[in-house]
């Protein structure tokens, strides 16, 4: 469950960053969302994928 919680945290970080940019646009926030946002989401998706993969392996589906 640690990986799931980490995925949720990473997603929340990306969304909060995007939220801040939507409220107040600055060059730094924009550069941050463009670079860090997708990286955080990608990491979260990888973590979620690894949890799904582990679960499917445990159920012998894969």
């Amino acid at each position: 469950m640690f990986r799931l919680r980490l995925a949720v945290l990473l997603t929340a970080l990306a969304v909060v960053h995007a939220f801040a940019l939507l409220v107040k646009e600055t060059a730094y926030l924009f550069a941050g969302v463009m670079i860090v946002g997708p990286a955080l989401l990608f990491a979260a998706v990888v973590l979620l994928g690894s949890v799904i993969f582990t679960e499917l392996r445990a159920k012998q589906v894969l």
């Binding site: 799931l4 949720v8 990306a14 969304v15 995007a18 060059a27 730094y28 926030l29 550069a31």
Partner: protein, 238 residues
């Protein structure tokens, strides 16, 4: 609690949509419902709030003994689908807003350029375009980006570089334009205009098109900027 949350949501989303309609003192047309960028901002804020609520719900649903079917569906939405929409809308909004004069002027090094641009007494090319509204908005971006999709991409990449140099304070002083200013940026607007064709000899135009002569040779300077203000400050970040 629900009422407060609803009020907060309405305030956050309606704020940008109801942004002042009269930035230039001109009343907006009847039935004005905001610009595309303002709608992107409002919808993006709604999605972001919705996503955060979902993430909190999912966080509570995750137990040590596994996740339920419902929480799996929520996880899918909260981590895979909605954040992509939120980041996309935030990026689209950022892209649009980063073209504004305010965005260019947010770096200390550009303050004197912006002051000259907005100075009605200045006779620089930038100020002349600004005060006469030859360009209606995003004046810095319009003149300093090439046309077409690749012009936009190139300008955004250059902008990322500017952010880096401003954060680290490593830009050279006095600041200079990266490469000679392309006449094509001027000619994209002025090229076919009757007053341009009337005031320029026919044999001048090929030289302007090829870049052999610069528009700024006769119509400059582009800016009257105070170069002493371009020194890298200790507090580069604001």
């Amino acid at each position: 609690m629900r009422l407060r949350l609803t009020c907060l949501l309405l305030f956050l989303t309606a704020g940008p949509l109801a942004a002042s309609p009269a930035d230039f003192g001109v009343p907006q047309p009847r039935g004005w419902i905001g610009t595309t960028s303002q709608w992107v901002q409002g919808v993006g804020l709604l999605f972001a709030l919705f996503n955060l609520v979902l993430l909190v719900l999912v966080w509570r649903m995750i137990r040590g003994d596994g996740v339920t079917v419902v929480s799996k569906a929520l996880l899918f939405g909260a981590i895979l689908v909605i954040p992509v929409v939120v980041v996309f809308l935030a990026t689209a909004h950022g892209m649009q807003e980063s073209m504004s004069v305010e965005a260019c002027g947010s770096c200390h090094v550009m303050e004197s350029h912006i002051a000259d641009l907005r100075n009605p007494k200045s006779d620089s090319l930038a100020a002349t375009h600004y005060k006469n509204r030859y360009i209606q908005g995003d004046q810095c971006y319009t003149c300093h980006s090439d046309y077409g999709m690749f012009g936009t991409v190139s300008a955004k990449l250059a902008g990322l570089g500017h952010v880096y140099y401003n954060i680290t304070g490593t830009y050279p002083t006095p600041i200079k334009i990266r490469k000679p200013y392309s006449n094509l940026r001027c000619l994209s607007c002025h090229g076919g205009a009757q007053n341009f064709l009337a005031k320029h000899e026919k044999d001048e135009i090929p030289n302007l098109m090829s870049g052999k002569d610069s528009c700024l040779d006769c119509h400059g300077p582009a800016h009257h900027a105070d170069e002493s203000a371009a020194e890298p400050p200790k507090q580069a970040l604001r």
